[in-house]
């Protein structure tokens, strides 16, 4: 087993206005694991990420990362535990350049005084350029993020996640709006990252999930419907019934 | 003429018969005589048909504190119906009983004074305490009894004042609850709309002066003020605010500018001095509620008006087509549009509605506050506090918020003074929204987050 913390969700329930977004959801992700989460719209995928990152507090259930109780921490603390998140709708700082966005995400002291005295070291610059090369944003370094195309915004979000160098990456719909080649590249990138880091990917694109080739969790109406390798999940009659086709 | 007869005017004071002044020697009026005269007169006037005279008479007897007056007082009390005079008679009777030599009568006096609940009775009792050591215990009990009644009455009056202030805040904040709570638009010109409502009242009153409709000026001012401010609100929404949706801070600044323009325009047109808006007779005077709690009529009417406007607004939102459109647009603008609801029109109408309510609030405020160009500025901060405290988007919250702030404000005033009470309330709200950032009546869940 790789070193690092595991993510442990048990019996998580979240309700909005009587609507159960998550219903007794349980999920364990081991250190270094790459896990794909699929499910129809409204199955609770994004709410699950909200619970893990502290944006939503569950009505009941346990959420732990290593020894830490995630339900008691706020977003900042959870991020500093080493949980990074890429949002479904890419959100970054539009008024800042690509380089500046990555610089803010870069793993470095997060305090106010540290930010005031921050000097960009050669090492940090190299790391940022490395990620820009990885995400194909090298020639847009000085462009403001607000003028990027949808696909490039996706890449910048992924780049920011890489800069954070978290133990656990939560990646929400990374390939929406990407070309086939980009999709392939993303799958390869995530496979490469896994092992050193834990990765949870939420995607609709079954081809992409297949390309990841790891364990798949199927969510339906806020709880886990099926779990296992993609081939096994595809054979599961319940999954076929609600998700893969009728 | 008999020696010692008193001549008052043209009549003999004792017999009332026409008198002949010839040969009468002028009485030297010294203080002793004056006092004797006053007492004598008082005893006579206690049966006068004129209430003002009877009151004066009762006062006179009260001052004399003489047991001899008891039969007179008993008789007068049996006849008397006017509350204020009765109060004096009860006091006078109690005082007279205490002045007697009869222990039982004294105790009856203490008893009746204690039961009366009048503040003046307290003084009479305490005065008598020195001379009646044996009765000190009974007197203390009676004083305590009066104190309890006084405290109750004071609490009642404070509560009423608080409700009254609360209903003023409610009126001022209701329109804001619609524009801010429903549309999310911060309208810093809201106070100026209230002010325009008050000026509309003034104009309606002036226009109707001397016509048969003059007694109805105040009632007619309500729809007039609603129309004026609603039209202005609609124009403002279509002309200005519409271009700033999704930019709340800019909207705030822009509407503040509109408020300045409105306020200064009124100042240029009407002058900076206060305008006189008169109150109709039915709004003047005070009313005694059970428990001797006195309330002023105009404040009472404003409470009634505030509740009426609240019910009207609730009904409009709940039962009319416009209200349904409004609620649909608030919950999901895009989908409301696909149902055929013209969202732009709903926005304009909603804003007009909120502004019109501000105008109606202005009519009410013209009755209790100075009608001047900066009438609205005094209410705007409080109104925002009411909406924030009560919870944005909830009329029930606005009601509870307004009444709570009003009552708390008035309850604090005796201890902290007017200004510090206000400061304390503002600080209290800031601490309160620590616990509940979305106010008392926050909408919960998904739909509320958007």
């Amino acid at each position: 087993m790789k070193k690092g913390a595991s993510l442990y969700l048990d019996g998580i329930t979240v309700t909005f206005d009587g609507f159960r977004a998550l219903n007794n959801l349980s999920l364990i992700v081991e250190p270094g694991e790459l896990r794909a989460v699929i499910g129809p719209n409204g199955a609770g995928k994004t709410t699950m990420m909200d619970v893990i990152t502290g944006k939503t507090k569950p009505d009941s259930g346990t959420a732990r990362f290593g020894d830490h109780d995630l339900t008691r921490l706020d977003e900042t603390r959870i991020a500093n535990l080493g949980i990074g998140r890429k949002f479904q709708k890419p959100t970054m700082f539009d008024a800042l350049t690509v380089f500046e966005n990555l610089e803010l995400a870069l793993k470095a002291p997060r305090g106010t005084l540290a930010a005031l005295h921050w000097r960009l070291s050669g090492e940090a610059r190299d790391r940022i350029e490395e990620v820009m090369a990885e995400t194909g944003l090298m020639d847009r370094a000085k462009d403001r993020a607000g003028i990027l195309s949808h696909g490039q915004r996706q890449w910048l979000e992924i780049g920011m996640l890489l800069m954070q160098d978290p133990e656990l990456l939560l990646v929400d719909e990374p390939v929406a709006g990407m070309t086939d080649q980009e999709t392939e590249h993303t799958a390869e990138l995530l496979r490469r990252i896994a092992g050193k880091h834990s990765v949870v990917v939420v995607e609709h694109d079954l081809e992409f999930v297949r390309a990841l080739g790891r364990k798949v969790t199927v969510l339906h109406e806020g709880s886990v419907l099926s779990e296992g390798p993609i081939e096994q999940v595809q054979e599961d009659p319940r999954v076929i019934d609600v998700y893969l086709g009728r | 003429m008999a020696d010692g007869a008193l001549l008052l005017g043209e009549a003999d004071a004792l017999t009332g018969a026409p008198a002949n002044a010839a040969g009468a020697s002028p009485v030297r009026i010294n203080n002793r005589v004056r006092a004797a005269l006053r007492i004598a007169l008082g005893r006579l006037q206690i049966v006068s048909p004129d209430p003002a005279e009877r009151l004066r008479a009762a006062d006179g007897i009260l001052r004399s504190r003489s047991a001899q007056d008891l039969p007179l007082l008993d008789a007068a009390l049996a006849r008397e119906t006017v509350p204020r005079i009765r109060e004096r008679l009860v006091l006078a009777q109690g005082a007279a009983r205490l002045a007697s030599d009869d222990e039982a009568l004294k105790r009856a006096g203490i008893e009746s004074l204690g039961a009366s609940g009048f503040e003046a009775a307290r003084t009479v009792l305490l005065e008598a305490r020195a001379g009646n050591a044996a009765l000190a215990e009974a007197i203390d009990a009676a004083v305590a009894r009066i104190d309890r009644q006084l405290a109750f009455r004071r609490a009642g009056e404070l509560l009423f004042q608080g409700l009254s202030l609360g209903s003023v805040l409610l009126l001022a904040a209701l329109g804001l609850a619609v524009t801010f709570g429903v549309m999310g638009v911060i309208n810093m010109a809201h106070g100026e709309f209230v002010m325009l409502g008050a000026y509309t009242t003034f104009l309606v009153q002036e226009a109707l002066r001397g016509t048969p409709l003059a007694p109805w000026a105040l009632q007619l001012a309500v729809p007039a003020a609603f129309l004026v401010t609603a039209l202005l609100g609609a124009a403002m929404e279509r002309g200005l605010i519409r271009h700033l949706y999704g930019r709340p801070l800019e909207t705030l600044l822009m509407t503040f500018g509109v408020g300045m323009v409105l306020q200064q325009s009124v100042r240029l047109i009407f002058g900076a001095q206060n305008r006189e808006v008169s109150s109709p007779a039915w709004m003047q005077g005070t009313l005694m509620l059970p428990g001797e709690i006195s309330v002023t009529q105009n404040r009472l009417w404003i409470i009634v008006f505030g509740i009426a406007v609240l019910l009207l607004v609730m009904a409009a939102i709940r039962f009319t087509r416009f209200g349904l459109d409004m609620r649909a647009v608030v919950q999901n603008r895009r989908i409301a549009a696909t149902m055929g609801i013209r969202t732009g029109r709903v926005d304009a109408l909603t804003f007009a509605f909120g502004s019109g309510i501000a105008g109606m609030a202005g009519v009410a405020l013209s009755q209790i506050d100075n009608v001047s160009p900066n009438l609205g500025t005094g209410y705007i901060v409080d109104s925002f506090m009411v909406v924030v405290f009560g919870g944005v988007g909830s009329l029930a919250g606005t009601l509870i918020g307004a009444l709570t702030l009003g009552v708390v404000n008035k309850l604090l005033e005796p201890y902290a003074g007017v200004v510090l009470a206000k400061v304390a309330v503002l600080v209290g709200i800031m601490l309160f929204i620590q616990r509940r950032p979305k106010g008392l009546f926050a909408l919960k869940g998904r739909a509320a987050d958007q």
Partner: protein, 358 residues
């Protein structure tokens, strides 16, 4: 396109230098002998000095609003608190030259029957202490209000309303006689500062240059702040606060830091303002003052430091000019300015010159 942004930077730097050179002129030309055609009157020096204080206030508002997105409608309160701190020192410096000639108590206290100086007046006879308080009191208030607000994630218009209520409450409090701050009339009839009588040309020039120096220092501090990673984080917080949290930054701490810094700058501006204009009263706390200062920033161009300074000077120049012959019109024009700026000039004057791609 680094060429263009470098050019833009140089232009801005040039504008800053130009402004400071121009601002050096009034005291210099004022020193010319009377009757000289280029001589500038005492009045102009005093008015320009006042505007410099306003520019510092505008800068402080811009730091919070233009960069961090915190629209405070209560900065006038920080300004006034700084002013009161300085005013207290100036009152103590009157000594026994007051109308009642009391050696310790200011006139209004004698008039109100005070027997001795209230405890919170202690220490204000020392200039450094008063200056320290002019920074610390506004800073502490901003720290308290900001901590309460940012911690519970009160943002946007809610925060604006809270800050407005704050200055409103302070105004009501300072109008009270028993607060020990002169009530309605505030402080006035100052005699001298640091031993120099205030009505002398050298005092005027000294105060003016002190204000100008303070403007330069606050501008440098602001520039350092906004051009550091801290500044980029402020912009990030302004545009997507929750996203910054997910990156692991403590947003509350950053906002609090900039809010307190900004309040202290406003306090400094107030402290310089009071000896220049010779009076401070509770009217400075009125919510209208704060929001008027916000419109200077909006008009000049928020999110650019030079824009805030430019806005303070231009709006106040307009105000001084207009109120000299048509005082009734000023509020109409100011109101219209709010509308025009928000609807047509979202980037302010600076935005007219430098259009950024969007």
């Amino acid at each position: 396109m680094p060429g263009i942004s470098a050019l833009r930077f140089n232009l801005r730097l040039g504008l800053v230098v130009l402004i400071f050179v121009l601002l050096l002129l009034p005291p210099v030309l004022n020193a010319l002998p009377a009757g000289h055609p280029l001589r500038i009157s005492d009045f102009v020096v005093a008015v320009t000095g006042k505007w410099i204080c306003y520019a510092i206030l505008a800068l402080s508002i811009d730091l919070a609003w233009g960069y961090a997105g915190i629209l405070s409608l209560g900065h006038g309160a920080f300004f006034a608190l700084g002013g009161y701190a300085m005013g207290m020192h100036l009152m103590r410096m009157i000594g026994n030259r007051g109308v009642y000639g009391h050696p310790v108590l200011p006139d209004f206290m004698v008039f109100l029957g005070y027997k001795e100086l209230p405890w919170y007046w202690l220490g204000f006879e020392y200039f450094p202490f008063a200056m320290l308080m002019a920074l610390l009191v506004p800073g502490a208030l901003a720290g308290l209000v900001g901590w309460l607000a940012f911690r519970s994630r009160i943002t946007g218009v809610y925060l604006s309303i809270i800050t407005q209520a704050m200055t409103y409450a302070l105004m009501l409090a300072f109008f009270r006689n028993d607060m020990g701050f002169g009530g309605n009339n505030g402080f006035t009839d100052f005699k001298d500062l640091l031993g120099v009588p205030l009505n002398t040309p050298s005092a005027r020039a000294g105060l003016y240059l002190a204000a100008l120096g303070a403007l330069l220092i606050t501008l440098l501090i602001s520039a350092y702040t906004v051009h550091s990673k801290f500044g980029r984080l402020l912009i990030a917080i302004r545009d997507a606060e929750s996203r910054v949290r997910f990156l692991g930054y403590d947003v509350t701490a950053f906002k609090l830091f900039v809010f307190v810094l900004s309040a202290m700058m406003a306090g400094l501006a107030g402290a310089l303002y009071v000896p220049i204009v010779g009076i401070i009263n509770p009217g400075e706390f009125s919510p209208g003052n704060s929001i008027e200062a916000v419109v200077w920033v909006a008009f000049g161009g928020r999110g650019t430091l030079i824009g805030a300074i430019l806005g303070a000077f231009s709006v106040n120049a307009l105000k001084t000019w207009l109120t000299s012959f048509a005082p009734d019109l000023w509020l109409l024009v100011l109101g219209a300015l709010f509308i025009i700026v928000t609807l047509f000039l979202p980037r302010g004057l600076i935005g007219l010159g430098w259009r950024r791609r969007s």
